[in-house]
Structures are given as structure tokens and as C-alpha cells.
Symmetry: C2
Subunit: 260 residues, 2 copies
């Protein structure tokens, strides 16, 4: 049996949202990060075509959203609640930054959780944010580090950012996909450097009696680039062509590499 | 002289954006994270009222945006370029995840940079993303870890997330603001526990001959909560009231705490 993702145990709660477009944007943001559990407290307009439009491919999240009248009702059954806040509040618990707050919410969900513990993350109204009464229902406020001179994130953008942090808190994204490139082996790279040196000397560009730092510098450059197998083939093909007597090169230039 | 923020050296480039609203959302996202340097390559509609509307308080970023015809022109003068990509590309350099890519861009900017080095982060068209030709102008692609089944972030949301990572890469957000709470000192907390024990015994709730685990459990609870100075005052006030003979308590209940 596959154990469900801990992300399914996170309830995203949007309280008193004014613009239905933002509800759609939030649903899309959630789904891109693997969250699907959306609750709406007293939305001004919902359902609404603007919500559908901005949700793009995440209309399923909207369709399964739970709509209720009060934040108390929205939080029923959750064991830990955090609320987004853009400003300091006198009577609130100490703030957590977004990353730490996400980790704290995730830590409450155990992978083999038989009780299906749910935690909640609450976002307030676009203009006024969470009221003090709403924030009092949260265990702690979360603040997104922002420009102190302009900290007003769009609601959908704030949901995107928090769901991203929750996804990362739920598990490392793993090794970055590296494409299909096959790196060259050390002997392939050495073969290339020997070839390059030969051509450089034969052409008169490199004086073997006074080599200076030329070869080490080229080595440094190609080392940094971490040559791929196919790139070594291409470079050696080029060197081989350049090694050939000028006459044959000129003859070949019409259908191959141009020579200036 | 104040050294300028490294964030001012990051050029956000939006290429061939279709919806002007997304340009506005990107401007707002940038400004919330302290970035202001925006370049638009061949936008479909710009300037446009939708851009202004979605920019909210960041219309200054729109007003100072540089508009040009090609990505080559947009990248002039930058020393390191990363491009967002939602999918693997055969011929691209290895991917970086958002967080690592942001750190790599930031690392290129030295705080005392006399040359005012600029780096760029490029976002492609909403529907098609960056073309292979555009991505070939980038040193590496950046991928936002996402739900493999639905990885389509809104453009503004992707800009928000990357600017957030860039802001964090530019410096820790510092200690989370903790509000104005003054924590109770150890002796204040001990005074409270002694008072609580006295009241618990006097009321008959705690049998000192068989104390069991009651006091340690209460200690654990209040220890976890990290009592504040003012909270200790309130709790001790409550205990003091409860200690008084019932008669006086009843008399007081009309203007103070209700007694059931």
C-alpha cells in the first residue's frame, strides 16, 4: 500500500477572500506543489468564472473545495494551525519565517499517521489580512521575508510560495535532473588535450620551447566546462580537419566548415 | 556610503509575455522581494492597463522597465544568465533547482563590486516557456520543484518564488520578529509553580501524600509554552483570587471573574 503524501494532510484555508480570481490562482498554486485540500471561509464570490479561469488546470481543486461560514468551522479537526501575517501583532505568538513555519507544520504530520492528523495554514483577506480574532485561532503566525518598504504579496503568490516551502519541507526535490548528457571519461579528455597540443604546435601558435601558460589555461577552461563524450568527438573532429593540409581543407570548405 | 543591495544587480527578463496582467504581477512580485530591474523582450501588449492594475503598488517597476526586441539585447552586459524551465531539455546544461540556482546567481555578485556586475534570470512565454534558442543563451536552466503531474506555475507566481529565493540567497532574513513579549524569568516561573502547588493542595485536588505525576505534567505544559512576564502576573492573580474564602469570591464575582 502506498503511504499518502504528507501534503494531503495540509489544509489551505482562505478566509473572506474578496476576488474570486485569487481563489483560482491559489488552487493552481496548490496543485503545482501537490496540495489539494482547500477550504474557503465566507468567500465574497464563489463559485465564479474568474476563479475557474485563473485556476487553469486546477479546477478539480476548486470543485472539491469546502466552503464554510466561520474560521472555527474551517479548522475543525486540525491539530496545528498557522496563519500568514505581513505585520507584527502585539498579542500573537512569536513569528516564524516562511521556511521554518512550513517545516514546523510538516513535522506534525507523521508519515505512518493512522489518525490522519491534519494541520492548517490560513490566509486572510487580500486587503486587511487576518484579523486579530482570526490570528488568535492560530498557534503561530508565519511571515514571508519581504521588502520592508513594500511587503504586499498578491494572495495567489503568497499561497504559491508557502506551498513551495511545504513541498520542500515534505522532502528534498532530489538530484536535479541532468539531461541525457554522457560525460567524457578522463582518458577521452586526455586524448583531446594531447590532440589540441599537437595541433597548436604544428600550426605554430604554440612554441614548445616557450609554452608559457597556454596549455594549463586551456585545461582549466575545459575542466570547468566538464566535457561531454559527444563534445570531445566534435572537438577532435574539428582538430583533425584543421590538421589536414590547407589544400584539402579549402576543397572541403564548400560543403563543410567555412574558412575565412 | 551605503553599498547597494546585490538584488539591484539582478535583471529579471520576461520574454515574449502574452498577458500584460502577468507583467504587472511579475513587477509586484519583484518589488515585494526588493528587486526593481525589469526587462521585457517583445511583450505582446505593453504598456497596458492590465499590467498597471496587477502591479498594484509596483507601477514604478513597470515605468522603469526596459523594453527591447531580442533576448540577445536584453542580456547585454550580464555575466551570468539563468533561464526558467519546467521540463528537461536535451542539449541544455544540467538543471539547478530554484534554491541552488538562486544562490549561484547571487554568488556572482560581489558586495563591493566596482564593475556593477549584472546577472539575469529569464522567464519565457506563458504557454511555451523558453524556446531552445532562448535557453541556449543561458548558462544554465533553473527548475522549480513541482508536482510532476501538474507543474504549470503561473508566470507571476514563478517570478515571486524565484525573487523570494534570490532575496534569501542575498542574506538571511534575520531573527524572526518576536513581538513585544517579555519572557518570565526563571524565579518568576518558580514562584508561579509554588503558588499553583499550594492552591492545588489547599483545594483538595492534589494529595501531597500521593502527588503522582500531576505537578511534573503541569510543569511540562507551562515549560513548553514559555511563560511571559505578564502571563505569570495574570495566572498568579487568578490563583490568589481562587485562594480566598468562598464568601469573598462570590461577592467579587459580579464585577470580576464569573464563578459557575
Amino acid at each position: 500500500m502506498n503511504s499518502p503524501s504528507p501534503l494531503e494532510h495540509i489544509r489551505i484555508v482562505l478566509s473572506r477572500t474578496s476576488h474570486p480570481g485569487n481563489i483560482g490562482a491559489a488552487a493552481r498554486a496548490m496543485k503545482t506543489m501537490g496540495l489539494t485540500n482547500l477550504t474557503l471561509v465566507d468567500p465574497k464570490l464563489f463559485p465564479h468564472p474568474d476563479a475557474e479561469a485563473r485556476a487553469s488546470g486546477a479546477t478539480d481543486v476548486l470543485a472539491s473545495a469546502y466552503v464554510c461560514a466561520s474560521l472555527q468551522e474551517a479548522l475543525r479537526g486540525t491539530v496545528l494551525v498557522a496563519g500568514l501575517s505581513a505585520r507584527r501583532r502585539d498579542l500573537a505568538a512569536p513569528f516564524r519565517w516562511a521556511r521554518d513555519g512550513a517545516a514546523e507544520l510538516l513535522a506534525e504530520i507523521r508519515p505512518d499517521d493512522q489518525l490522519a492528523t491534519e494541520v492548517a495554514l490560513v490566509f486572510g483577506n487580500e486587503t486587511s489580512g487576518l484579523s486579530n480574532e482570526e490570528l488568535a485561532l492560530c498557534h503561530f503566525p508565519i511571515m514571508i521575508p519581504a521588502n520592508p518598504g513594500y511587503s504586499s504579496l498578491n494572495l495567489g503568490a503568497a499561497v504559491q510560495l508557502m506551498c513551495y516551502e511545504l513541498r520542500l519541507a515534505a522532502g528534498s526535490p532530489g538530484t536535479a535532473p541532468s539531461g541525457d548528457a554522457v560525460l567524457a571519461t578522463a582518458d577521452e579528455v586526455e586524448g583531446f588535450h594531447a590532440h589540441l597540443e599537437r595541433v597548436a604546435i604544428a600550426s605554430g601558435f604554440l612554441d614548445p620551447a616557450q609554452p608559457k601558460r597556454l596549455l594549463p589555461r586551456l585545461r582549466r577552461l575545459f575542466g570547468r566546462a566538464r566535457l561531454e563524450h559527444e563534445e570531445v568527438s566534435i572537438l577532435r573532429g574539428l582538430l583533425t580537419t584543421l590538421e589536414k593540409p590547407k589544400l584539402r581543407r579549402s576543397a572541403k570548405s564548400s560543403d563543410g566548415l567555412k574558412k575565412s
